[in-house]
Symmetry: C4
Subunit: 347 residues, 4 copies
């Protein structure tokens, strides 16, 4: 038997065209890191506590100083409107209903104002162009629409090569469904390409130009995490982009503990990649993450519309609460010494 | 060729209905811990002693100060009368004949008095309800029927989710075959649900209200073991409930040594989960357990009635004695340095 | 393509009856140690030396003070006359021609005098009976027939259980082909069973009653090795009896280094189990063995008669010499630091 | 989907006769080291840097003091003219066009002068004969034709045994396609066999008789690397000959770091074996190699002629540049701390 959660991708397969499915599933090159992500969380073993009062379990966390009811957020993903006509709006509504957090890609196909109007708590994810000033209107639009933070993705100076089977998604996508928060002709302007020279100064600039806290997404090294926090980042997001950038990048499950050691006292640390179940959530929290982000699962759930995303949050919450309870943890902070040492086979 | 012992589950398959078989075999969630239990004992390698006199080998052990002829006991399992009409009585008679120890589930389908009347040495396993006083009559009944200890199961604040294929056992079970040692209407009373707030104080209460030594079942962490012993437990039973509660819980084979280190000088330490052969018994004893408990094997054997359980004890004893002899060990205490270091692949 | 050496068992399959093949191949219980033996040598990786003069390579070794041209000997095996009518004599002649060493089982089907008459260098392997005096005539016969040492097998207080598929060899064997060096009716005498109380004193007794150096076969632990050497053993033979006694015993490849550390300065150390190729021989020598012994390969080769055994020695010698040369080693003593650390996955 | 690079061997399969394909692919004995080479690079995991300016990425390296645009060279391989009529000339032209480095086997089927005339930067690889003076004319010819260094292969005192399936290549090769840079009748002369007594003195002799820097190919041990450098080697080339000499030799990926530690401050260190992709190149550079060499891939590419080799360089360069960029490295020197520790499962 397979659970509703475990069947997400398979059900999406019945609904979505092949190029869309492939776009969502694919990893860079041989997809080693993509595949390993899922396996690396399930390699953790737990040492549950017993004889603790777990009558009331609270899975909620504080993210940048404000509480959400879910210990995960929705990671930014492009092409949500290609997956479902309601795209980011369905994602936003379902996430708002669950009192969760949504991170919206700057490639989104829905105007920020409409997303903000759903009442969801949201953060903007941004790629910066070579000419930073070209991003200013988009950033301003997000601020105006209520984004509470900016997530700067730093692992994508160029897009990692993927080996497409069959027709590429980009050959078929309706341009009206992508990057609608940029002015017309944006991509043709000189300097519109992704910046290849991001640096700590960009964090300053982002924070000052938006007035928002900055989260840096795509960090795997403790030294880089330190640089980010020293440059004013409020949080560091450990990610290898779902295995879509440098293949054979270390699993985030393996990278996380050193990043937490390096900056956990001074900033929040999030993690994404391969989280698929409540036990995975528990493993990530036990490894020291302040929260987890989900990339592909909400996209597959979106194939079933707002209801799909709502059910994703509900099912994962039920699994997570059961896992916390059986692990003898009343809240996320109680999970920190759950892992059997050594937690993970060296990679 | 397969041995009688190795063929236990397969033969049960020919006799028992599918939902019963599934109920016995299943683990929580993905059954990772259930599967790993068996593999983890067989991963141990031995460094046998030679040139020791092994003419007389004594496999017996002292359990809570009284000798049994077998270095294992029968772990508590629900639904024995569903597996075989003679249920707990067949289990008791065969175990008594082997001078072994039986642990009876508080969910048993046979009155304690009948079990006690077989003359078997037995312990009561209890789940405590939210309202502890509701358990008092059942506990008193067990004391009266000669239970020599109470085993408190602490790993089940809620029952771990299992994914049933086909009809669930609970849809078909005759209620007369379960929990007969509680008064009628017990489950409908407020406070009858399993307690979610067990704590050390419950050990005190149990010991005082029954006058029996208390064993805590379901401990995996050395710190919890310490808490139990400090609260007066006579023994700690390392168990992940056969993988039926928190999936991805550490194998008991991996958890055992640290628990022995933490409390072995002050209390007895037992272990269960995945023990299937004399070599598994040897590995568990060599890891420091004072005794081993068997969950599923006696249930499968029970499908062949009292004779099945008797043969289980006999076959396993023959294997264990041969293993001790070939390992150069005259008694259980001689097994302690048999394991090649590192004993177990880190998990 | 498979080599002549690698094809040994398969070719034997075409010649020998099933029960004989099974008798030779089988291990105790699940045959874990038997299977692992072969795998454990091939898990070693070499760090070959370069720019050393390997024009002349000498694979010979000194065994108990006398040189043999082969760095291995033939281990004792029962039922050689069942494998081939010429049995021990074919084994002896081929081994003599290669200037090798033969260890003859006390269960041999050929009179010691006939074996000695071939001119082969040979050692007697003995199991001692409960009543030691019953062994005296057999020991005296071996001394008279020129045995140069006694190998006492200490890992067999009882014979490890094997799971036979089909008819057991013992149901079919002609008793005239086994144990011909004992007087008639030997096995029926009281005290003729294998001793279960072997101890260091037996080494003394053996040495004194035969006047020969004593080798102890079946040692896996450094502490036991030490006891043997302190009791006067001239050599210790690291063996788990080809996996035929205690299953899940540590691979000899894993046990060897600690034994060499413990007694290598004071006595010779041999090893057997799973050696099948020149690279395996190299790995065993590099691990510190003074010589290697071969159990099953000579038996399979014997299915092809004296010529088979001769070819076994010749092929393995060619492989070993090539391996030594490519490893930059002129002699066995040069192999000691060839292994990449850590040499072997922990078991 | 498979990439052009990943499909190299398969496409060669459509063009080359079986014995040629087998000659190229084969490893010694069981081909363990050959197979493991590929797997060992892909076992590395990266900790990419972020927020570094990777606008301009320079993959070029200095080899013996002179810059090449590629961080790899073409390793010496015999029988190139059997693979393609243009043989070494096609290899040279394509490599020259890419501003790369070619190492030419002394077994080459093309006169050195013709190779030199292509303008390629090249080094001579030499096996020394027992009678060193027999090599002098060949060495002189190489010097005259512009070879910039001599690579002495030291892992081949004898050729490692391979198990050929079907007809051996040597039964079919036209002798005019091999070893054309030796005088006629060279192989029949006494002393023409490969030297089995190479030593440090040969490095002196080579350097003096050719006036060229000497590179030692086939080193796996740090102590040997040290001996080479102390004897005047300008570089040490970590290689197990593509697994074609001592099978079960350690993977070069495992051997490299210790060699770099031992001599990296005093000499260059190269590595070959199993490098098949840009990520493999990155792993080797990150492990401390000054450059990588490719054996089989250029041979398979040569089946498609000069264009094939040209495309090999171009595709691998694109992959390598992308890998460097995504790893946050502007140049090879930036790669040194990219590997997650422990980098490689112990072997
Ligand atoms: C289809 C898809 C589109 C993505 N688009 C973006 C994006 O626009 N911006 C971004 O920072 N990350 C993007 N990512 C990466 C995700 O934010 C996230 O890091 C990753 O998917 C996490 O791994 P998971 O999918 O295993 O949960 C995308 C991932 C996928 C699968
Ligand atoms: C069918 C079944 C029913 C069980 N019922 C109980 C129970 O009522 N009380 C309890 O403490 N443990 C119960 N357990 C857990 C066992 O006591 C024991 O911890 C576990 O089965 C040991 O693992 P093993 O089956 O691999 O030997 C049950 C296990 C099984 C398989
Ligand atoms: C068929 C067979 C018979 C054996 N008989 C004896 C024996 O009589 N005495 C003894 O000490 N060991 C005996 N052994 C064990 C061997 O001496 C040796 O320890 C073992 O076979 C080594 O492993 P290998 O077969 O993998 O080389 C026997 C082994 C086999 C396979
Ligand atoms: C077909 C073939 C021929 C080779 N001939 C030579 C040679 O003549 N001289 C030499 O030093 N190495 C020779 N080698 C070894 C290569 O130089 C190199 O060390 C090895 O191929 C590297 O491994 P790779 O093939 O996995 O890249 C040969 C290798 C192959 C595959």
């Amino acid at each position: 038997m397979t659970t509703w959660l475990a069947g997400l991708e398979e059900r999406a397969r019945a609904v979505l065209p092949a190029p869309v499915l492939e776009y969502v599933a694919q990893g860079a090159r041989e997809s080693v890191s993509t595949a390993e992500a899922v396996a690396s969380w399930s390699a953790f073993r737990f040492l549950p506590h017993v004889m603790r009062d777990v009558t009331d379990v609270d899975p909620g966390v504080e993210l940048l100083g404000r509480r959400t009811e879910l210990p995960w957020g929705v990671a930014p993903t492009t092409l949500q409107r290609v997956v479902h006509p309601d795209g980011e709006l369905a994602m936003a509504r379902a996430t708002a209903a669950a009192s969760g957090l949504l991170v919206v890609s700057s490639n989104a196909g829905t105007p920020f104002a409409e997303i903000g109007a759903t009442g969801v708590r949201w953060w903007l994810q941004a790629y910066l162009p070579a000419d930073r000033t070209l991003a200013e209107p988009m950033l301003a639009g997000a601020v105006e629409a209520g984004a509470e933070a900016v997530v700067l993705t730093v692992d994508t100076p160029v897009v990692g090569t993927k080996y497409a089977v069959g027709e590429s998604i980009w050959a078929t996508v309706d341009p009206a469904l992508v990057r609608v928060n940029f002015g017309p002709g944006h991509e043709e302007r000189p300097g519109a390409d992704k910046a290849t020279d991001l640096g700590p100064h960009d964090l300053d600039w982002l924070r000052e130009s938006t007035g928002l806290p900055v989260v840096v997404k795509g960090v795997l090294r403790p030294d880089d995490a330190r640089r980010c926090v020293d440059a004013g980042a409020s949080a560091v997001w450990v990610s290898n982009h779902g295995g879509r950038q440098l293949d054979r990048a270390v699993p985030t499950a393996a990278a996380l503990p050193d990043v937490v050691d390096a900056v956990g006292a001074d900033a929040q640390v999030y993690v994404d990649g391969g989280v698929r179940s409540g036990l995975d959530v528990l493993a990530a929290l036990a490894s020291g993450a302040d929260a987890v982000f989900l990339g592909r699962p909400p996209v597959w759930a979106l194939a079933e519309g707002e209801a799909g995303v709502a059910r994703l949050h509900a099912e994962l919450l039920a699994e997570t609460v059961e896992a916390l309870r059986l692990a003898g943890c009343r809240r996320v902070a109680d999970t920190r010494d759950l892992l059997a040492a050594p937690a993970l086979p060296a990679t």
